[in-house]
Symmetry: C2
Subunit: 251 residues, 2 copies
Protein backbone atom coordinates (compact mmCIF):
# COMPACT_ATOMS: atom_id res chain seq x y z
CA UNK A 1 0.00 0.00 0.00
CA UNK A 2 1.28 3.45 -0.97
CA UNK A 3 0.57 6.49 1.20
CA UNK A 4 -0.09 9.61 -0.87
CA UNK A 5 0.20 13.08 0.62
CA UNK A 6 1.18 16.62 -0.41
CA UNK A 7 1.48 20.20 0.80
CA UNK A 8 -1.01 21.85 -1.56
CA UNK A 9 -3.91 20.31 0.35
CA UNK A 10 -6.15 17.28 -0.14
CA UNK A 11 -8.20 19.00 -2.85
CA UNK A 12 -5.19 19.89 -5.05
CA UNK A 13 -5.30 18.64 -8.65
CA UNK A 14 -1.69 17.42 -8.45
CA UNK A 15 -2.58 14.97 -5.67
CA UNK A 16 -5.63 13.82 -7.60
CA UNK A 17 -3.49 13.19 -10.72
CA UNK A 18 -1.01 11.17 -8.64
CA UNK A 19 -3.88 9.18 -7.08
CA UNK A 20 -5.42 8.31 -10.47
CA UNK A 21 -2.07 7.22 -11.87
CA UNK A 22 -0.78 5.17 -8.93
CA UNK A 23 -4.06 3.38 -8.17
CA UNK A 24 -3.73 1.68 -11.57
CA UNK A 25 -0.70 -0.24 -10.28
CA UNK A 26 -0.98 -0.34 -6.49
CA UNK A 27 -3.25 0.01 -3.49
CA UNK A 28 -3.27 3.66 -2.35
CA UNK A 29 -4.38 5.65 0.69
CA UNK A 30 -4.52 9.43 0.95
CA UNK A 31 -3.71 11.38 4.13
CA UNK A 32 -3.11 15.02 3.27
CA UNK A 33 -3.42 18.50 4.79
CA UNK A 34 -6.93 19.94 4.86
CA UNK A 35 -5.63 23.29 3.57
CA UNK A 36 -2.69 24.51 1.53
CA UNK A 37 0.56 24.20 3.52
CA UNK A 38 3.18 25.54 1.09
CA UNK A 39 6.54 26.70 2.48
CA UNK A 40 5.87 25.18 5.90
CA UNK A 41 9.24 23.43 5.79
CA UNK A 42 9.55 20.57 8.23
CA UNK A 43 7.02 22.00 10.68
CA UNK A 44 5.08 19.75 13.03
CA UNK A 45 2.08 20.72 15.13
CA UNK A 46 2.65 20.41 18.87
CA UNK A 47 0.71 23.32 20.38
CA UNK A 48 -2.63 22.64 18.70
CA UNK A 49 -4.68 19.47 18.50
CA UNK A 50 -4.95 17.70 15.15
CA UNK A 51 -8.29 16.81 13.61
CA UNK A 52 -8.91 14.21 10.94
CA UNK A 53 -11.81 14.30 8.44
CA UNK A 54 -12.91 11.73 5.89
CA UNK A 55 -13.09 13.25 2.42
CA UNK A 56 -15.41 11.92 -0.29
CA UNK A 57 -14.95 12.43 -4.00
CA UNK A 58 -17.30 11.39 -6.84
CA UNK A 59 -19.48 9.58 -4.31
CA UNK A 60 -16.66 7.42 -2.95
CA UNK A 61 -14.12 7.66 -0.13
CA UNK A 62 -11.01 9.57 -1.26
CA UNK A 63 -8.87 10.03 1.84
CA UNK A 64 -8.24 11.65 5.22
CA UNK A 65 -7.77 15.41 5.61
CA UNK A 66 -5.62 16.45 8.58
CA UNK A 67 -5.64 19.92 10.16
CA UNK A 68 -1.83 19.98 10.14
CA UNK A 69 1.35 20.03 8.09
CA UNK A 70 2.60 17.46 5.55
CA UNK A 71 4.97 16.01 8.19
CA UNK A 72 2.03 15.73 10.64
CA UNK A 73 0.07 13.84 7.96
CA UNK A 74 2.72 11.14 7.52
CA UNK A 75 3.18 10.75 11.29
CA UNK A 76 -0.51 10.54 12.14
CA UNK A 77 -1.22 8.27 9.14
CA UNK A 78 1.26 5.70 10.45
CA UNK A 79 0.61 6.10 14.16
CA UNK A 80 -3.14 6.70 14.38
CA UNK A 81 -5.09 6.46 11.11
CA UNK A 82 -3.97 3.52 8.98
CA UNK A 83 -4.44 -0.07 10.11
CA UNK A 84 -1.58 -1.32 7.92
CA UNK A 85 1.86 0.23 7.44
CA UNK A 86 2.34 1.60 3.92
CA UNK A 87 5.43 0.36 2.09
CA UNK A 88 5.99 3.59 0.17
CA UNK A 89 5.23 7.30 0.64
CA UNK A 90 4.61 9.56 -2.37
CA UNK A 91 4.30 13.30 -1.77
CA UNK A 92 2.95 15.53 -4.53
CA UNK A 93 2.49 16.25 -7.31
CA UNK A 94 3.46 19.70 -6.11
CA UNK A 95 2.46 22.77 -8.08
CA UNK A 96 5.91 24.38 -8.51
CA UNK A 97 9.44 22.95 -8.50
CA UNK A 98 11.31 22.08 -5.31
CA UNK A 99 14.92 22.56 -6.33
CA UNK A 100 18.06 24.35 -5.16
CA UNK A 101 18.29 25.90 -1.72
CA UNK A 102 14.49 26.20 -1.71
CA UNK A 103 14.17 22.51 -0.91
CA UNK A 104 14.60 23.44 2.77
CA UNK A 105 11.24 25.29 2.73
CA UNK A 106 9.38 22.49 1.00
CA UNK A 107 6.44 20.83 2.71
CA UNK A 108 6.33 18.33 -0.17
CA UNK A 109 9.87 17.18 0.58
CA UNK A 110 9.28 17.25 4.36
CA UNK A 111 6.49 14.65 4.01
CA UNK A 112 8.88 12.36 2.14
CA UNK A 113 11.59 13.02 4.75
CA UNK A 114 9.14 11.94 7.46
CA UNK A 115 8.43 8.72 5.55
CA UNK A 116 12.19 8.08 5.35
CA UNK A 117 12.65 8.68 9.08
CA UNK A 118 9.90 6.14 9.70
CA UNK A 119 11.79 3.62 7.54
CA UNK A 120 9.64 3.73 4.38
CA UNK A 121 10.94 4.33 0.82
CA UNK A 122 9.71 7.85 0.04
CA UNK A 123 9.49 10.14 -2.96
CA UNK A 124 8.65 13.83 -3.34
CA UNK A 125 7.46 14.81 -6.82
CA UNK A 126 6.91 18.32 -8.16
CA UNK A 127 5.94 19.92 -11.47
CA UNK A 128 7.96 22.97 -12.51
CA UNK A 129 5.02 25.30 -13.04
CA UNK A 130 2.72 27.41 -10.91
CA UNK A 131 0.15 27.72 -13.71
CA UNK A 132 0.26 24.52 -15.74
CA UNK A 133 -2.47 22.10 -14.66
CA UNK A 134 -1.36 19.22 -16.87
CA UNK A 135 0.15 16.79 -14.39
CA UNK A 136 0.00 13.83 -16.80
CA UNK A 137 3.72 13.55 -17.62
CA UNK A 138 4.66 13.79 -13.94
CA UNK A 139 1.96 11.29 -12.94
CA UNK A 140 3.13 8.84 -15.59
CA UNK A 141 6.73 9.16 -14.44
CA UNK A 142 5.71 8.61 -10.81
CA UNK A 143 4.01 5.36 -11.85
CA UNK A 144 7.12 4.20 -13.72
CA UNK A 145 9.34 5.09 -10.74
CA UNK A 146 7.10 3.17 -8.34
CA UNK A 147 7.32 0.06 -10.56
CA UNK A 148 11.10 0.37 -10.69
CA UNK A 149 11.37 0.81 -6.89
CA UNK A 150 9.33 -2.39 -6.44
CA UNK A 151 12.20 -4.26 -8.18
CA UNK A 152 15.14 -2.50 -6.49
CA UNK A 153 16.79 -2.15 -3.09
CA UNK A 154 15.84 1.35 -1.95
CA UNK A 155 18.70 3.14 -0.15
CA UNK A 156 18.17 3.52 3.63
CA UNK A 157 17.94 7.00 5.16
CA UNK A 158 17.34 8.61 1.77
CA UNK A 159 14.37 9.97 -0.13
CA UNK A 160 14.12 10.83 -3.81
CA UNK A 161 13.31 14.43 -4.69
CA UNK A 162 11.86 14.35 -8.22
CA UNK A 163 11.15 17.43 -10.33
CA UNK A 164 9.42 17.27 -13.69
CA UNK A 165 9.66 20.00 -16.35
CA UNK A 166 6.39 21.56 -17.48
CA UNK A 167 6.41 20.27 -21.06
CA UNK A 168 4.42 17.51 -22.84
CA UNK A 169 5.76 14.02 -22.07
CA UNK A 170 7.26 13.59 -25.55
CA UNK A 171 9.37 16.74 -25.14
CA UNK A 172 11.08 15.61 -21.90
CA UNK A 173 14.83 15.34 -22.57
CA UNK A 174 15.63 12.44 -20.24
CA UNK A 175 16.17 11.82 -16.53
CA UNK A 176 19.21 13.06 -14.58
CA UNK A 177 20.42 11.99 -11.13
CA UNK A 178 21.80 15.30 -9.90
CA UNK A 179 22.74 17.08 -6.65
CA UNK A 180 20.68 19.88 -5.11
CA UNK A 181 21.71 23.21 -6.69
CA UNK A 182 22.44 26.55 -5.08
CA UNK A 183 19.80 28.61 -6.87
CA UNK A 184 17.25 30.15 -4.57
CA UNK A 185 14.40 32.60 -4.24
CA UNK A 186 15.82 35.99 -3.33
CA UNK A 187 13.12 37.51 -1.18
CA UNK A 188 11.70 41.00 -1.14
CA UNK A 189 9.29 42.56 1.34
CA UNK A 190 6.46 44.64 -0.05
CA UNK A 191 5.58 47.25 2.61
CA UNK A 192 1.94 48.37 2.75
CA UNK A 193 -0.39 50.28 5.04
CA UNK A 194 -3.74 48.79 6.04
CA UNK A 195 -7.04 50.78 6.31
CA UNK A 196 -6.32 51.33 10.03
CA UNK A 197 -2.97 52.96 9.08
CA UNK A 198 -0.90 50.05 10.37
CA UNK A 199 2.11 48.85 8.41
CA UNK A 200 2.38 45.28 7.17
CA UNK A 201 4.65 43.38 4.80
CA UNK A 202 4.12 40.76 2.09
CA UNK A 203 7.02 38.41 1.58
CA UNK A 204 7.70 37.81 -2.09
CA UNK A 205 10.70 37.08 -4.25
CA UNK A 206 11.91 35.45 -7.39
CA UNK A 207 14.09 32.48 -8.21
CA UNK A 208 17.65 33.56 -8.97
CA UNK A 209 19.72 31.08 -10.94
CA UNK A 210 23.26 30.85 -9.58
CA UNK A 211 26.06 30.37 -12.13
CA UNK A 212 27.53 27.36 -10.38
CA UNK A 213 24.33 25.39 -10.98
CA UNK A 214 25.64 23.39 -13.98
CA UNK A 215 24.72 19.73 -13.49
CA UNK A 216 22.24 20.32 -10.64
CA UNK A 217 18.48 19.90 -10.20
CA UNK A 218 17.85 23.49 -11.35
CA UNK A 219 20.01 22.95 -14.45
CA UNK A 220 18.19 19.71 -15.34
CA UNK A 221 14.77 21.41 -15.27
CA UNK A 222 15.99 24.29 -17.43
CA UNK A 223 17.07 21.68 -19.98
CA UNK A 224 13.64 19.97 -19.93
CA UNK A 225 15.01 16.98 -18.03
CA UNK A 226 13.43 15.23 -15.06
CA UNK A 227 15.74 15.67 -12.03
CA UNK A 228 16.12 13.09 -9.28
CA UNK A 229 18.11 14.05 -6.18
CA UNK A 230 18.69 11.59 -3.34
CA UNK A 231 18.25 13.57 -0.11
CA UNK A 232 19.14 12.63 3.45
CA UNK A 233 18.61 14.30 6.80
CA UNK A 234 22.11 14.16 8.22
CA UNK A 235 22.85 17.87 7.88
CA UNK A 236 26.40 17.59 9.26
CA UNK A 237 29.01 19.46 7.21
CA UNK A 238 31.71 16.83 7.78
CA UNK A 239 34.23 18.78 5.66
CA UNK A 240 34.35 21.64 8.17
CA UNK A 241 34.60 19.71 11.43
CA UNK A 242 38.40 19.79 11.65
CA UNK A 243 38.50 23.52 10.94
CA UNK A 244 36.34 24.20 14.00
CA UNK A 245 38.35 21.74 16.11
CA UNK A 246 41.25 24.18 15.62
CA UNK A 247 39.42 27.02 17.39
CA UNK A 248 40.19 27.99 21.01
CA UNK A 249 36.82 27.23 22.52
CA UNK A 250 37.60 24.35 24.90
CA UNK A 251 35.54 24.57 28.07
Amino acid sequence: MILLTNDDGIRAPGLRALYESIKEVDEVCVVAPETEMSAVGHAITLSDPLRVKEIMKNGGFFGYAVSGTPADCVKIALKAILRKKPDMVLSGINQGANVGTNVIYSGTVSAATEGTILGIPSIAISLDSFVDTDFSAAAAFAKRLVSQIRKRAFPKGTLLNVNVPSVPADQIQGVEIVPQGKSRVVETFDKRVDPRQHTYYWQAGEMVIMEEDEGTDCWALRHKKISITPIHFDLTDYGNMDLIRGWEIGA
Copy 2:
Protein backbone atom coordinates in the same frame (compact mmCIF):
# COMPACT_ATOMS: atom_id res chain seq x y z
CA MET B 1 26.38 44.23 14.91
CA ILE B 2 24.94 40.86 15.92
CA LEU B 3 21.34 39.92 15.10
CA LEU B 4 19.70 37.93 17.90
CA THR B 5 16.62 35.83 17.29
CA ASN B 6 15.00 32.61 18.52
CA ASP B 7 11.96 30.38 18.17
CA ASP B 8 10.63 30.58 21.73
CA GLY B 9 9.41 34.14 21.10
CA ILE B 10 10.76 37.61 21.89
CA ARG B 11 9.76 37.39 25.56
CA ALA B 12 11.63 34.12 26.22
CA PRO B 13 14.19 34.16 29.05
CA GLY B 14 16.78 32.36 26.90
CA LEU B 15 16.82 35.21 24.38
CA ARG B 16 17.06 37.74 27.20
CA ALA B 17 20.05 35.86 28.69
CA LEU B 18 21.78 35.82 25.30
CA TYR B 19 21.08 39.55 24.86
CA GLU B 20 22.54 40.46 28.26
CA SER B 21 25.65 38.38 27.64
CA ILE B 22 26.41 39.43 24.06
CA LYS B 23 25.76 43.15 24.54
CA GLU B 24 28.74 43.22 26.90
CA VAL B 25 31.03 42.53 23.93
CA ASP B 26 29.19 43.67 20.81
CA GLU B 27 26.40 45.80 19.40
CA VAL B 28 23.19 43.74 19.29
CA CYS B 29 19.76 43.98 17.68
CA VAL B 30 16.80 41.70 18.40
CA VAL B 31 14.27 40.60 15.75
CA ALA B 32 12.31 37.62 17.04
CA PRO B 33 8.90 35.97 16.69
CA GLU B 34 6.09 37.63 18.61
CA THR B 35 4.88 34.24 19.88
CA GLU B 36 6.39 30.83 20.49
CA MET B 37 7.28 29.11 17.22
CA SER B 38 8.73 25.78 18.36
CA ALA B 39 8.89 22.89 15.87
CA VAL B 40 8.07 25.13 12.91
CA GLY B 41 11.05 23.76 11.00
CA HIS B 42 12.16 25.94 8.14
CA ALA B 43 8.71 27.43 7.57
CA ILE B 44 8.30 30.84 5.97
CA THR B 45 5.13 32.91 5.82
CA LEU B 46 3.88 33.55 2.29
CA SER B 47 0.09 33.45 2.57
CA ASP B 48 -0.28 35.95 5.43
CA PRO B 49 1.11 39.44 5.83
CA LEU B 50 3.86 39.99 8.41
CA ARG B 51 3.58 42.66 11.07
CA VAL B 52 6.44 44.16 13.04
CA LYS B 53 6.11 45.65 16.55
CA GLU B 54 8.66 47.52 18.65
CA ILE B 55 9.08 45.87 22.04
CA MET B 56 10.18 47.81 25.14
CA LYS B 57 11.78 46.28 28.20
CA ASN B 58 12.71 48.01 31.47
CA GLY B 59 11.77 51.37 29.93
CA GLY B 60 14.11 50.98 26.93
CA PHE B 61 13.87 49.63 23.40
CA PHE B 62 14.54 45.87 23.35
CA GLY B 63 13.80 44.72 19.81
CA TYR B 64 11.33 43.99 17.01
CA ALA B 65 8.63 41.33 17.32
CA VAL B 66 7.54 39.77 14.03
CA SER B 67 4.24 37.91 13.47
CA GLY B 68 6.09 35.09 11.73
CA THR B 69 8.58 32.26 11.99
CA PRO B 70 12.27 32.40 12.97
CA ALA B 71 13.26 32.20 9.27
CA ASP B 72 10.87 35.10 8.51
CA CYS B 73 12.54 37.14 11.27
CA VAL B 74 16.02 36.83 9.78
CA LYS B 75 14.78 37.59 6.27
CA ILE B 76 12.70 40.63 7.23
CA ALA B 77 15.42 41.92 9.58
CA LEU B 78 17.90 42.06 6.72
CA LYS B 79 15.56 43.12 3.96
CA ALA B 80 13.17 45.54 5.67
CA ILE B 81 13.91 46.37 9.31
CA LEU B 82 17.62 46.94 9.93
CA ARG B 83 19.49 49.85 8.33
CA LYS B 84 22.84 48.05 8.59
CA LYS B 85 23.61 44.41 7.74
CA PRO B 86 24.51 42.39 10.83
CA ASP B 87 27.81 40.51 10.63
CA MET B 88 26.63 37.59 12.77
CA VAL B 89 23.31 35.86 13.58
CA LEU B 90 22.76 34.17 16.96
CA SER B 91 19.60 32.14 17.45
CA GLY B 92 18.62 31.06 20.95
CA ILE B 93 19.14 30.31 23.70
CA ASN B 94 16.53 27.65 23.00
CA GLN B 95 14.72 25.96 25.86
CA GLY B 96 15.45 22.31 24.99
CA ALA B 97 18.23 20.64 22.99
CA ASN B 98 18.28 20.56 19.19
CA VAL B 99 20.20 17.37 18.48
CA GLY B 100 19.89 14.20 16.42
CA THR B 101 17.24 13.84 13.74
CA ASN B 102 15.15 16.42 15.59
CA VAL B 103 17.32 19.21 14.20
CA ILE B 104 15.12 19.16 11.08
CA TYR B 105 12.12 20.40 13.13
CA SER B 106 14.07 23.18 14.81
CA GLY B 107 13.03 26.78 14.35
CA THR B 108 16.15 27.80 16.29
CA VAL B 109 18.39 26.11 13.73
CA SER B 110 16.29 27.37 10.79
CA ALA B 111 16.97 31.00 11.80
CA ALA B 112 20.71 30.30 11.75
CA THR B 113 20.33 28.48 8.42
CA GLU B 114 18.65 31.58 7.01
CA GLY B 115 21.54 33.74 8.21
CA THR B 116 23.96 31.36 6.49
CA ILE B 117 21.99 31.49 3.22
CA LEU B 118 22.20 35.27 3.40
CA GLY B 119 25.99 35.02 3.78
CA ILE B 120 26.34 35.78 7.50
CA PRO B 121 28.22 33.62 10.07
CA SER B 122 25.40 32.09 12.10
CA ILE B 123 25.02 30.10 15.29
CA ALA B 124 22.09 28.25 16.87
CA ILE B 125 22.43 27.69 20.60
CA SER B 126 20.21 25.53 22.81
CA LEU B 127 20.12 24.47 26.46
CA ASP B 128 19.39 20.80 27.11
CA SER B 129 16.47 21.32 29.47
CA PHE B 130 12.79 22.14 29.23
CA VAL B 131 12.61 23.18 32.88
CA ASP B 132 15.97 24.69 33.83
CA THR B 133 15.89 28.48 33.62
CA ASP B 134 19.59 29.00 34.32
CA PHE B 135 20.94 30.03 30.93
CA SER B 136 24.16 31.49 32.39
CA ALA B 137 26.59 28.77 31.28
CA ALA B 138 25.14 28.76 27.75
CA ALA B 139 25.17 32.58 27.59
CA ALA B 140 28.79 32.69 28.75
CA PHE B 141 29.79 30.11 26.15
CA ALA B 142 27.98 32.05 23.41
CA LYS B 143 30.01 35.13 24.34
CA ARG B 144 33.26 33.18 24.20
CA LEU B 145 32.31 31.66 20.83
CA VAL B 146 31.49 35.11 19.40
CA SER B 147 34.91 36.41 20.47
CA GLN B 148 36.61 33.42 18.87
CA ILE B 149 34.63 33.82 15.61
CA ARG B 150 35.75 37.46 15.45
CA LYS B 151 39.35 36.14 15.16
CA ARG B 152 38.72 33.26 12.73
CA ALA B 153 37.67 32.62 9.14
CA PHE B 154 34.11 31.32 9.42
CA PRO B 155 33.38 28.51 6.95
CA LYS B 156 31.05 29.52 4.09
CA GLY B 157 27.68 27.81 3.69
CA THR B 158 27.79 26.43 7.24
CA LEU B 159 26.22 27.27 10.57
CA LEU B 160 27.19 26.07 14.00
CA ASN B 161 24.58 24.15 15.96
CA VAL B 162 25.59 24.45 19.62
CA ASN B 163 23.97 22.50 22.48
CA VAL B 164 24.82 23.10 26.12
CA PRO B 165 24.18 20.56 28.90
CA SER B 166 21.98 21.70 31.75
CA VAL B 167 24.61 21.69 34.50
CA PRO B 168 26.46 24.49 36.31
CA ALA B 169 29.33 25.93 34.23
CA ASP B 170 32.03 24.31 36.40
CA GLN B 171 30.57 20.84 35.77
CA ILE B 172 30.71 21.05 31.96
CA GLN B 173 33.07 18.35 30.71
CA GLY B 174 34.49 20.15 27.67
CA VAL B 175 33.47 21.01 24.11
CA GLU B 176 33.15 18.44 21.30
CA ILE B 177 32.90 19.04 17.56
CA VAL B 178 30.56 16.18 16.62
CA PRO B 179 28.22 15.10 13.82
CA GLN B 180 24.42 15.17 14.13
CA GLY B 181 23.24 11.92 15.74
CA LYS B 182 20.39 9.61 14.81
CA SER B 183 18.43 9.80 18.05
CA ARG B 184 14.95 11.20 17.63
CA VAL B 185 11.61 11.79 19.25
CA VAL B 186 9.39 8.79 18.60
CA GLU B 187 5.94 10.29 18.39
CA THR B 188 2.67 9.11 19.83
CA PHE B 189 -0.84 10.45 19.21
CA ASP B 190 -3.11 10.87 22.20
CA LYS B 191 -6.70 10.46 20.94
CA ARG B 192 -9.38 12.44 22.80
CA VAL B 193 -13.02 13.47 22.38
CA ASP B 194 -14.05 17.11 22.75
CA PRO B 195 -17.25 18.30 24.53
CA ARG B 196 -19.05 18.28 21.16
CA GLN B 197 -18.15 14.58 20.76
CA HIS B 198 -15.59 15.21 18.01
CA THR B 199 -12.30 13.31 17.99
CA TYR B 200 -8.98 15.12 18.11
CA TYR B 201 -5.36 14.13 18.63
CA TRP B 202 -2.42 15.55 20.58
CA GLN B 203 0.96 14.83 19.10
CA ALA B 204 3.46 13.87 21.78
CA GLY B 205 6.49 11.66 22.05
CA GLU B 206 9.77 11.06 23.76
CA MET B 207 13.41 11.18 22.74
CA VAL B 208 14.74 7.72 21.98
CA ILE B 209 18.51 7.33 22.10
CA MET B 210 19.77 5.19 19.22
CA GLU B 211 22.70 2.87 19.93
CA GLU B 212 24.80 4.15 17.06
CA ASP B 213 24.94 7.62 18.66
CA GLU B 214 28.46 7.25 20.14
CA GLY B 215 30.47 10.36 19.33
CA THR B 216 27.47 12.46 18.20
CA ASP B 217 25.73 15.59 19.49
CA CYS B 218 23.32 13.48 21.60
CA TRP B 219 26.24 11.54 23.10
CA ALA B 220 28.13 14.74 23.95
CA LEU B 221 25.17 16.17 25.89
CA ARG B 222 24.68 12.93 27.82
CA HIS B 223 28.33 13.23 28.90
CA LYS B 224 27.85 16.84 30.08
CA LYS B 225 29.82 18.20 27.12
CA ILE B 226 28.93 21.16 24.92
CA SER B 227 28.34 19.88 21.37
CA ILE B 228 29.10 21.89 18.25
CA THR B 229 27.93 20.53 14.90
CA PRO B 230 28.67 22.34 11.63
CA ILE B 231 25.48 22.15 9.55
CA HIS B 232 24.95 22.91 5.88
CA PHE B 233 21.87 23.01 3.67
CA ASP B 234 23.05 20.87 0.77
CA LEU B 235 20.86 17.87 1.56
CA THR B 236 22.17 15.75 -1.34
CA ASP B 237 23.04 12.18 -0.38
CA TYR B 238 26.04 12.01 -2.75
CA GLY B 239 26.85 8.45 -1.68
CA ASN B 240 23.63 7.09 -3.21
CA MET B 241 23.64 8.91 -6.56
CA ASP B 242 25.36 6.11 -8.51
CA LEU B 243 23.01 3.48 -7.10
CA ILE B 244 20.00 5.33 -8.53
CA ARG B 245 21.81 5.94 -11.84
CA GLY B 246 21.67 2.13 -12.24
CA TRP B 247 17.86 2.07 -12.23
CA GLU B 248 15.84 1.69 -15.43
CA ILE B 249 14.02 5.03 -15.33
CA GLY B 250 15.40 6.83 -18.39
CA ALA B 251 12.75 8.94 -20.08
